[in-house]
Amino acid sequence: MNTPKPARILIVDDATVVRLYYRHLLERDGYRVDEALNGIEGLEKALRISYDLCIVDVNMPLMDGYAFLQALRRDPSTRNLPTLVTTTQAHKQDIAAARKAGATAYLVKPVPADLLANHVAALLNPLPV
């Protein structure tokens, strides 16, 4: 039996230090990581490469996180990509908006390392309902 390849994760965030930090944590945990700095770049990558999970920030230029999620849902090849939305706002309307846009989970920044790890692991290995 082959060892499964490590999960491939796409980080979509316009802040360089955030992308570097998540990369640092995720690679340490053995995942393969790609980056995009806004929703357009994220979509372009997601349409060409099969990712297992996407971590996406809300506030980004040209295509924000919600628009990105909507675009993912519209395309059959990316419709079921699990997404973890990060944002600085924790208001109720943001949580509702994330859910409406099709996000799988939602985290408030700055994201603690252990919380990120737990959410990533859970999203990559969903328990049967």
Binding site: V17, Y21, N59, D64, A67, Q89
Partner: protein, 197 residues
């Protein structure tokens, strides 16, 4: 289709057309028209089509000036992230004319407004951006606002930020992300400084 003539014939009334293609052309036709500033702005608050929004922002940027920048900055309070982020990108294109608006936002109580304001400085020359970054790094209580300043500092920070970044590192010593981010920023700036001597 005589697009060239159409651009010149449209009026602000067409901004409210039911046809998004018409609204796009109307928004484009008003590019640089200072008299249409209020209409362009009020349309932005209502506009659901992302492309029409892009055209509206573009036309406001073409008008330019500190007053227009301040009006665009008012959109940062919107609940719609697309409108907020469109306003940020537009403000970046105002260059130094956006400085008063940015400074006003940096004094706001709402940390998200301060965070978005710092993002605009990414488009500025170092000598304009650095004082604002310094102010945030020294005094802002919010971790995400500081993180935004640190990210801009990795790109255009100068040695005068080094001491402040070190103090920020102590301030957020319990936040591993901030420690990581500040170390990167300081490393980038120190490397530049070493060559500058």
């Amino acid at each position: 289709m005589d697009t060239a003539l159409t651009l010149r014939d449209l009026s602000p009334d067409h901004l409210g057309s039911a046809d998004s293609a018409m609204r796009w052309r109307a928004a484009r036709a008003l590019s640089g028209e200072a008299a249409a500033t209020a209409q362009l702005l009020s349309r932005l608050r209502l506009e659901g089509d992302r492309n029409v929004r892009t055209a509206l922002f573009s036309s406001l940027v073409a008008i330019g000036g500190t007053r227009t920048a301040a009006l665009v900055a008012s959109l940062l309070r919107s609940d719609d992230p697309g409108l907020r982020n469109g306003a940020i990108e537009a403000l970046k294109q105002f260059h130094t004319a956006a400085a008063p608006a940015v400074d006003a936002l940096l004094a706001e109580e709402d940390s998200d407004l301060r965070l978005l304001a710092i993002e605009v400085t990414r488009a500025w020359p170092g000598r304009l951006a650095v004082p604002r970054l310094l102010q945030v790094i020294e005094h802002d209580p919010n971790v995400n606002v500081c993180a935004a300043a640190v990210d801009v500092a990795t790109e255009l920070g100068t040695p005068e930020l080094l001491g402040a970044l070190l103090r920020l590192r102590r301030r957020f010593a319990g936040e591993p992300f901030m420690v990581f981010a500040i170390d990167i920023a300081r490393g980038r700036i120190r490397a530049a400084d070493g060559h500058g001597r």
